[in-house]
Amino acid sequence: MKATAEKLPDNQATDVDWDKCLAAYYEKPKSSLTWSGLEVKEVYTPEDLPSEKYKDICDPGTYPFTRGIHRNMFRGRYWTRREVIGMGSPQDTHDRSKLLVDEGGSGLNTIADIPYEMGLDADHPWAQSEVGLTGVCITNMYDMETMTADIPLDKVSWSLITASSVSVVTMAQYAAVAKKRGYDLKKLRGTIQNDPVHFRYCGFAPACPLDLSVKLGTDVIEYCTKEMPLWYYTTVNLYDLREQGITAPQEVAFGFLIARLYIDEMIRRGYKVDEFMQRFAFYVSCHIDIFEEVSKIRAARRIWARLMKENYGAQKTSSQQFRFAVHTAGCSLVPQQPLNNLIRIAYQALSAVLGGVQSLHCTSYDEPVCLPTENGHTQALRTQQILAYETGVTNVADPLGGSYYVENLTNRLEEEIYKIMAEVDKVGGMYEAIRTEWLDRVFEKEALARQKEIDDRDKILVGVNMFTTDQETTTPLGVQRISKVSVKKQIEMVKKLKKERNKSLWKEKILDLKAAADRRENVLPFMITATEAGATTGEMMGAVRLSFGYPYDPLEIIQAPF
């Protein structure tokens, strides 16, 4: 730390630009647009919110749930404070998970790495140098046992973030381990991301063929509905869509239409919405425009309730409710002046809570640099804790409800969302929009527009296009590295287990799985048995892929061992 300079007054002119200071004094905001580009007025009045309109808003806990899904919101229970964790080996991930619970986290939240999401075993030739770089790689039951070791599965709500078509494998591996440890699946609490359809847009297209994405995503929903009734079997991921650079209303519109693909498939399989919608949930982004994000969430709740009631005939309250977790917007963070990210994250977390969030992940300030360091992770958790315990935001449900501005913006975003949904209808619905790559083109166009906004300073990003400084030479709280030692050990263990397992039992169970897939049955129960018999992630995915006419290995490097 530098001390102040011990200089005597002198008359030398400083190099401060005082004209700039004067200009800054009189400066006013250049833009009056929301982040998503909606023009807003300088003030909102009762004319913007006629009192008869309250029937569209209603009290928290009352249809259409604009103001929240519970009447007392956080007085009943805080949101779940859980940070996403996934790094190195299953053991590394296990250790960091326990650390954050020890620091006051109220749930677990582990994320798959790229090989796992692709459905590759840790010993796949393309996977070996990337295992553990962006998450955790679970190749077999042993890896899942290591990650969950000595954690009482009946006392934690565990969020498993495997988003691709491989989430069915994750669910099977978790269930197999829980069964082995003597837990009653019916009593387990937690969440699995399980939204393979959206994950093609995160660079995982080879692992997520469209038909297989809908089939396997729905298999998880169907299985959990019957066997794990407390488990949230999907969090349809609006967040990842938003990270492509799209606007707030696009995020909700596209996400809802993807959600409908799974619901429609469940209905095709003969279920009524009230039989399965109670555990349907969403994963939402909170970007930097506080009021727009709160309004987006409020609009989403209203649209979802109406969609479920009016289009699907849902009668139960729990089938109509839009339940969601928030991930603060990673793409809003930059490595320039990295401590600024702490402030961005805090505002985004505030909007999530003002919007009535059920579970929150605050991004770490070092998100645009590396995986979170221990300090970075803890700081993200502390951001949540300051919000929860110090600021008073938990006292009142939907504190922005009735704000002329927020109610007006909620209505306008609702209109925008309906408009975008209608556009997708025009191209033949979401399945067609995906199949024909219409949606890819929207994402590309929007991402380019976001870059230009920053280049042209239509949007300000402090440290990037305003108030810039020389690039730092170090990251303030250090850089998280992934130990090659623990990962190498994991890969060796995978190879060893493949050699040592009971070959005939393994083959029998993997062929059972393949046969079930051929019969187009729900594959999840067969994956549990196959996992118990030593089958791996890549083998189980491969069996199902072959059955649907896709190459065993999404990268087409290795051949089926059965």
């Binding site: 962006t134 995982f204 930059v334 645009p368 590309e444 380019l448 280049d455 990251t475």
Partner: protein, 138 residues
């Protein structure tokens, strides 16, 4: 504009790619479009490329710059492999430029490995374009 081989004036040619399994391609696609708009010729190689694939394409397409976008933390593993392939392929005049989620601490290491420039996430387009224009051998 530059002259090369056949002495005809031609555009600066840039290969934009990802390496390994890292599929986060928003940045790669955006920079490919922005370089095109800046008047360069862009070969977008896309995802799931191994170092040899990248260098083979760079040779086939006779590019001036290889632009590698990376997010998943594999840059220290893959960069030396790409540099090695570039040496084998005799691409001594080709610039290797990295962009993406890269700890600033790694920049000196990457430069020692043979990377010409690193642009972290959040970079504006203009300095990238200027860098390429100034450093492609005229």
């Amino acid at each position: 504009m530059k002259k090369k081989k056949d002495n005809k004036v031609r555009k600066i040619k840039v290969l934009v790619t990802k390496v390994g399994l890292d599929g986060h391609d928003r940045g790669a696609k955006v920079i490919a479009s922005m370089l095109k708009e800046a008047g360069m010729e862009v070969v977008y190689l896309g995802m799931f490329m191994m170092p040899k694939d990248i260098v083979d394409a760079a040779i086939d397409e006779d590019v001036d710059v290889i632009g590698l976008s990376t997010l998943s933390g594999g840059h220290l593993v893959f960069t030396p492999q790409i540099v090695e392939e570039m040496k084998k392929g005799g691409l001594n005049d080709v610039r290797l430029v990295l962009g993406g989620v890269i700890p600033i601490e790694d920049v000196p290491t990457l430069k020692e490995m043979g990377v010409d420039a690193v642009f972290p996430a959040g970079s504006l387009t203009e300095p990238i374009v200027t860098y390429i224009r100034n450093h492609v051998r005229q």
